[in-house]
Subunit: 351 residues, 4 copies
C-alpha cells in the first residue's frame, strides 16, 4: 500500500507497449531517428506552439536545471518558493547547471508565491548595482510541492510581475498533467497564454518510466540547450526509448487521462479523510497530493500494516506527543485504485 | 542495414523482459528498492570487488564525467588520448562535471596511449608549480575509439606509469564486454587487478536500453558520487528500470554472450573484407569495430542500397579523388546477424 | 566630508612608506621573495598560530571566496546571515569560487546570527539526504554589516553549534581590527581560541591600499588554496607590494592603532548624535560604523553641504514623508579627524 | 643581477609618484571616482576607440580570464598556442572563468600560430555537431611566450581565419608595449585595425605595480564584464590606486618609453651574446626576451656570481652533458641598465 510518491508507481501499459514497440530493428542514435521528430511534433501540437524548442531528458531535475541554465546567467538570482523542488530537492542542480546562480527564496502559503512576495523579493536584489547578484528568472511549480494549484489568473499575475522587471517565467511541471486535470485547462492556457516562457513538462510521475520535456517557447536558445543537454550527459544514445514514451504519453490524451485518474483517487482519499475524527488538512487537496494532520494512533495502525508514505516537515518526530496529530503526505498516482484508497482509509479508521 | 553504431541496435530480449518484469506494482523511488541492491551486488560479484562503490546512470557520458569528477580536482589535468570519447565526443562534459579540469592529450596509434607517450605528457605538466595545472588522473578507453584493444600487460604498464606519479587510472568501458570477449579475461583482471581505479561499465551499447555503471574500487568517494549524480540530474526517480536492466545484463553471463556475438559478426565481416580487392584495414579488427579503407565504388554501392555507417576522419569528402579509398567505420552490435553481414559484403563486392 | 565607507579613505603613511621602500631593485616574482616570508611570519605571530596557512590577496571578496572555496564543497550550504557581505555584496563570488555552493540564510538583529537561528537553519538542511544540499561551513562577519560586534562568548556559542554538526567556522574580518579594538582582545582570542577555523583578515578598509590575508589554522588546505588563488587570478606577479603593505600593517601594532583611531572618531560622532534632537540609533554603535535615524532636515543640510554617506535599507526614498526620519550609515576610517566629525555634527545640528 | 622576469623589476618612478599623489583625501570606492574615468578615457584615446569597454584589474591572469569569459561559452574551444600563457601558466584560470571551456592547442615556431595551423585546429572541432565542443575565440600572445613578435600582416591573417569561421580574436598583451616598440605601430594598428576584438593591455610587466586593462572594442559585453570582474573578486574597493597607475602609464607616452628602454637593453644583450663563442639564439630576439643556448661553463659562471634567470624547456637538467649548451631565458625590463647588461655579458665571457 504505497502512497509515498507518484514515483513509486509503475509505468502505464500504453507507455510500456510503446517502449516495446520501439525496440524493433535499428534506429540512428542520439535522436537522429523519426520517432524523435514525431514526439517533438506532438508536444508542439499539444502546446499549440509550432515553434517551441523541445528537448527530451529522463529526469525532472535534469529538465529543471537545463531549462534554468538557458534562462539564468551565473550571476543572477532565480526567484522561487522556499519549498520549491529546485531549492530543496535537487542537491544544487540549478546552481551546478547555471554555473553558480543564486536561488532567492520567496514565501507563500501552500508553496505558492504571491505577486506581492515575488515583487518584494525582486526589489531586494538590486538592479543595476554591480555588488549584488542580478535579477534573473522566476520559477514556479505547478502543482506545488505542498499540493496547491495555481489558478490561471494567479500565474498571469506572477508573470506580470516578472515581466514588469523584464524577467522570464519558468514552470516546473513535474505534475503538469495533474494541474491541467484540476483546472480543466489546456497546456497552452497554463503556460504561454498565461505568460510562462519555459516549462519542464513531466511524464515520469504520471505513468512513464522516465521522460520529461523541456519546452521553451522562444526558439533562440534551442541549440544552446542541445549543447547543454549533451554536456550534462543527458543526450540519450538510444534516444528512441525516450521518444517512444513521450509519443505514447501524448497520444489520445493519455497524459490527461492518467492524471485524471490519479486526481480522482486523491479526491476519494480526501473525502474519506474528511470523515476521519481528528484529521485535518494542511490545505484543501486539489490535485493528487494530500497533506493531512492525522491522529497518531491512525498513523501507527497504517505503519504497522505496512502502508508507505512520508511524514512532512521538520518536527515530525515519531516519538512526539501522542496527543499531537502528525502531518502526513499521501500521494496518488495513475495506478492507484479505489480499493487501495479504501484499504488505507480502513487502516486509518481502525476498523 | 545499419552498421553505424552499437547504439543503433535494439535492446536484447532478456533486457526488455527484465524491464517489463520490473514494471509490477510499486517500488520506493530513487533506488530505495530491493532491485537496486541486487543489481549493485551482482556488479560487485562480477568485478570480485565486494567493497566497490557502484552507481547506475543512463548514459556513458554521465558515467565518464561522474567518475572523473571524483578523481580529478578542478585545477588538474586528465591525461587521455587525443581521440578519447571524453575529449572528442562529450561536448566538454568532463570539464563541466569536474569544474574546469583540463584534458591533456596523449598520442598513440589506434587511439591507444603508450607508456612512453603518457610519461612524456605527465612530465610536461609541472608537478609542484603553482602556475601550471596539476597532474590528475589518466583515462583510457577499452575498446578504444579506433577499435584497438589494450592487452592486459598494456593496461598494467599504463597503470605503472600513473602510479609512479601518484595518479589514478580510469577506464572508459563503453565496450567493456567486447574487450573481455576479445581478451578472454575477467572484469577483475581487466580492471583492478591491472591497476585500474575506476570504470565506466557500459551496458547501453551492448544490448541495454540505457544503463551504465560507475564502479570505483575505493569506497571513499561513494557518498560524494551519490551527491554528484543527484546534482547532475542523473539519479532516476524510477530507478528500478535502471536496476532491472543491469541485473538482467549480468545474470547468466548475458553481458558476455551479447559481446561475443557482436565480436563474432565483426570477425566475419573482417574476414569478408580481407577478400575484397582494394580494401585494407586501418588496423586489424579485434573487437566489434572495423575501420577499413574501401574502394569508393564499393562504398557508393553500399550507400545506394541504403547501408548506414559513418566515414572516419577529417578528409573523407565524398567528392574526393575516385581513386583514393575511403575510410569507413563499421560497427556490429549484439543483434547483428550473419545474413546482415553477408548482405553488406555482397554490396561491397558488387555482386 | 566623506563618511561613505572606510574604503573611501587613503592609505596610512606607514603603509605607503612601506610600498615605496619595497620598490627598490628587483625581487623574484609571485611571492618568491623574502618580504613575503616576513609578512607571512608576522601574521602567524600575530595570530599565535605558527602553523597557519596564510595567503595574501588584494580584495576582501577574493579573501572570502577563496577561504570558503576550501571549506565548502559545491553541493554544500554555507550558513550566513541574510545581510552578510558574501550574500549581499559580492555578486555571487562564493558561488563562483565554490563551484555552486548554496548560501543558506540565517536571521538575527544587527546582522548577527544567534545560536538558535543557526541551529534551526542547519537542521533545515537535511544531513544524509541525497536530495538536499549538504551542510557546509558557517560564516560570520566581525564587525557585522550593520555595525554590531560579536562578543567572544557569542562567537564561541556559534562555534559550538557548528562543531556539534561537524561544520567549520569562517570569519569575514573586513573590519577585524576594529572589532579587536572594541573588544580589547587579541586576534587569537577572537579566532581559533573561540573556535574559528578560517579568517579573512582585512587590511584594505583600515589604512592599506589593498591587501587582505586568508588565514586558515589548519595547514592541510594550504596548497589547494595556493592553486585556487592562482586559478582565480589573485596571485600577484609583483607580490612584494602586497607583502610590504601587510608587513607594515602589522609592525608595531599599526593595524590596531589605526582601528582604535577610527573607533574613537566613531564614538565621538555617536556622542554628538546622541544630543541631536530626533536622532536615534538603529543599534548602539560599537565599532566604526553608525546606523542612525536622522531627521530629514538634518540629512538634507548635510547633503546640501556636500557630505557623503549612504542611506540604508530599501525604503529610504529621498522623497519620503518629511516627518519620517531617514536611516543613514556613517563610517569613520583611520584618517577621520575630530574636526571632520564636528563639522558633520554641525551640519546635522544646523548651526 | 636579475634577468628572470620583467615581473622582477620595480615600478617606474612616474607610476609610484602617481600612486602617492592618488593617496590624498577621500575618494568614492569601487571606481566611482573621477580618476577612474580619466584613466579609462586615456585608454580609449590611446586605442582610438571611443566606445571601447575598458576594465582595470591587477593581474594579467585576471585580465585574460575575464576577457575570455565574455568571448567564450562554457562548451566552446579557445584556440591558442601550446605555449600560450593561458594554457601553460594560469593554473586553469580560463577554464575556471569560462565555466569549463576547452583550450584547443595550435602549434607553431616561436609560440606563434600560423594561419594554416589555426585553420586546421578549427576544422578539427566540428562545427554544428552536438557531440564536440563548439568553435570559440582565438587567443594570441604579443610578444609571444618565446619572445617572437607577430608582424601586423600576421595578425591580420590570423584574424581573417577567425572571421572566416565567425570567431573572435583575443590578444594577450602582457608585453603589448614592447611589441609596439618593436613594430613601431600604434595600439590601434596592432589591435582593432588588424582585426583584434579584445585585448589584455598589460602594465605590470612594464613598470607598474600591478595593473592591466581589459579592452573590448565592442561595448555589448561591458556590463557583463563588470559583473564578472566583481564576481571574480577583482573589483578593487580602493580602485583609485589602479586608476592612478594606468593614468600615469599612458600619460606622455610613458608606456612606450619604458618598453623602448627594455627593448634597447635587450638588443644590447643580444648583441653581446652574438659575440659569445658557443652561444646561439633559439630565435632572433626582437622584443625584451632572449632565448639563448649558452655554453654550460658560461651559465655556471653566471649562476655562481648570483645572476638570476630561468632555464627554458623540459630537458634542461643542470647535471646534463657538459658539452651540450643549455637553453636560457633572459628578460630585460624597463629598469635594466647597460651596466647590468654588460656585467652579465662579462660573466658569460668569463673575463
Amino acid at each position: 500500500m504505497n502512497f509515498a510518491s507518484d514515483n513509486a508507481g509503475p509505468a502505464a501499459p500504453e507507455i510500456m507497449a510503446a517502449v516495446i514497440a520501439a525496440n524493433e530493428g535499428s534506429a540512428m542514435p542520439y535522436g537522429n531517428d523519426p520517432v524523435r521528430d514525431g514526439a517533438i511534433q506532438k508536444i508542439r501540437d499539444l502546446f499549440e506552439a509550432p515553434e517551441a524548442s523541445v528537448h527530451l531528458v529522463a529526469t525532472g531535475t535534469a529538465a529543471n536545471a537545463l531549462a534554468l541554465s538557458v534562462l539564468a546567467r551565473p550571476w543572477e538570482a532565480i526567484f522561487c518558493h522556499r519549498a520549491a523542488h529546485i531549492e530543496a530537492d535537487e542537491c544544487g542542480a540549478p546552481e551546478f547547471y547555471t554555473g553558480g546562480a543564486k536561488l532567492a527564496l520567496v514565501e507563500g502559503v501552500g508553496a505558492k508565491m504571491t505577486p506581492e512576495a515575488l515583487r518584494k523579493a525582486i526589489h531586494a536584489k538590486g538592479g543595476g548595482d554591480v555588488h549584488s547578484v542580478q535579477r534573473g528568472p522566476v520559477s514556479i511549480t505547478q502543482i506545488t510541492e505542498e499540493g496547491a494549484v495555481y489558478a490561471l489568473p494567479e500565474i498571469e499575475a506572477l508573470s506580470d510581475v516578472a515581466r514588469e522587471f523584464g524577467l522570464q517565467l519558468h514552470l516546473d511541471g513535474a505534475r503538469f498533467a495533474n494541474a491541467c486535470a484540476t483546472l480543466g485547462c489546456t497546456p497552452a492556457e497554463m503556460t504561454w497564454k498565461a505568460g510562462v516562457d519555459a516549462v519542464s513538462f513531466g511524464g515520469t510521475k504520471n505513468g512513464c518510466l522516465g521522460v520529461e520535456a523541456v519546452v521553451i517557447f522562444d526558439q533562440s536558445s534551442a541549440w544552446e540547450l542541445e549543447l547543454r543537454r549533451k554536456r550534462g550527459g543527458h543526450l540519450f544514445s538510444k534516444h528512441r526509448y525516450l521518444s517512444a514514451q513521450m509519443e505514447a504519453y501524448i497520444t489520445d490524451g493519455l497524459w490527461l487521462r492518467l492524471a485524471q485518474s490519479a486526481n480522482a483517487r486523491c479526491a476519494e482519499l480526501a473525502e474519506g479523510l474528511r470523515g476521519l475524527p481528528g484529521a485535518s488538512f494542511m490545505e484543501e487537496p486539489r490535485g493528487n497530493l494530500v497533506f493531512v494532520h492525522l491522529p497518531r494512533a491512525a498513523h501507527a495502525r497504517a505503519m504497522a500494516a505496512g502502508a508507505k508514505y512520508y511524514l512532512f516537515g521538520e518536527d515530525q518526530a515519531l516519538d512526539g506527543d501522542p496527543e499531537t496529530p502528525i502531518l502526513c503526505r499521501l500521494v496518488c498516482d495513475w495506478s492507484c485504485t479505489s480499493e487501495k484508497v479504501q484499504s488505507l482509509l480502513a487502516l486509518f479508521r481502525g476498523v
